[in-house]
Symmetry: C2
Subunit: 205 residues, 2 copies
DNA sequence: GTCTATAACGTGATAGAC
DNA sequence: GTCTATCACGTTATAGAC
């Protein structure tokens, strides 16, 4: 792995120095995070209020704010939860594949992961949007590195600008996932394979 | 054109039966629309309140609601404004190109249009997100049709599923534009050409 | 016809009850 | 340690002044 870890690192960075939390606390936090994921997936970030979270959990707003410092803290926790699941899943798949097939593995698992967890996908999309920090390439760099390694493993010249190639592939993945979110009948696996085929054709040119 | 018209048609549909509006009214509306575009581009849909629009225009909230029926009506007007500009621009470029080169023209003008108007791009993105109506393929169908026509003009078999191909290209365009919004130095023209090269390679396979 | 002042509501966060 | 009642603010929309 290592590639995707960087993605997560940005989020996890400030959180060093956590106090140990009780079992009931941990359970409540987990419950609230799950509820928040569902609500954000359904209504979006801005439309998800503390009141709606509290109501879904059967408690009051203040109780939510006892377990989390602020609304943003709840959102950040929910985002971190789905992001770490994504990183672990895709990272493992990429690491298990030989370097020259890592890009295909990345595309397949990324699409598969999101298709299997529509709620997570929607949360990640929402987070991507509402995250107004200028992410200096954090989005495309991991994939660009995987693509470069694959080319090296095949003994090819570095062809198209890796940044642009990673952006194109990443954007295509987003579009395929987005289509699945709107139409549950859309065949994402076939979409992923089409994208991989295009990528192979472009890499050999 | 005709392809992109459909995109706009959805939005424009209900608005038949408009009463003629006075000059000052039209001017105010235009002013408010421009202001709204700027604010939405800067802060996003949810964070753009009537108060912020009114303040930027130097009037009160109520005055805004005299010219538009509701906050959503202001937003819809702003969206319609940027969308019609996009449709007119890209549509003209596509129509001017021979069928076999229409996809390339589409990509170039789409990217160019957005790169030249970052505010418009951001508004379109925001609208895409907050538009929770299930758009039955409205997003990819125009491009899919252009791609199919190009293949026909070249006497090629219909290869990859046109829906998937359109989704991939559309997603790639979004990613290229998104990158430009975050990094003004990113060379979108080069990105567009890379995408077109990939598309050509895939079409010939 | 154009706009200002006011109202009714929902929000995130706090102070304090248990 | 856990949660409820309360607060101050910003929101959209309306009623009414000019």
């Amino acid at each position: 792995m290592g590639y995707l870890r960087r993605m997560a690192a940005r989020r996890a960075a400030p959180g060093t120095g956590e106090k140990p939390l009780s079992f009931i606390e941990q359970a409540r936090r987990g419950q609230l995070i799950e509820i928040t994921i569902g609500l954000v997936a359904e209504r979006g970030y801005a439309a998800t209020s503390l009141a709606s979270i509290a109501q879904a959990a059967g408690i009051t707003k203040g109780a939510v704010l006892y377990h989390f410092a602020s609304k943003d803290a709840v959102m950040a926790a929910a985002h971190a939860h789905v992001l770490s699941a994504l990183v672990a899943d895709v990272g493992a798949a990429v690491d298990a594949a030989p370097a020259d097939q890592a890009p295909a593995a990345y595309v397949r698992r990324m699409v598969g992961h999101m298709a299997d967890r529509p709620d997570h996908a929607r949360v990640l999309i929402e987070a991507m949007i509402n995250d107004d920090r200028p992410d200096s390439g954090a989005r495309w760099k991991p994939l660009a590195a995987i693509l470069q390694d694959a080319r090296k493993a095949r003994g090819q010249d570095p062809g198209t600008d890796p940044r642009t190639l990673a952006l194109i592939v990443g954007g295509a993945i987003d579009a395929i996932i987005g289509e699945r979110l709107q139409d549950a009948d859309y065949d994402v696996e076939a979409g992923a394979e089409s994208l991989i085929a295009m990528l192979e054709a472009a890499t050999f040119a």
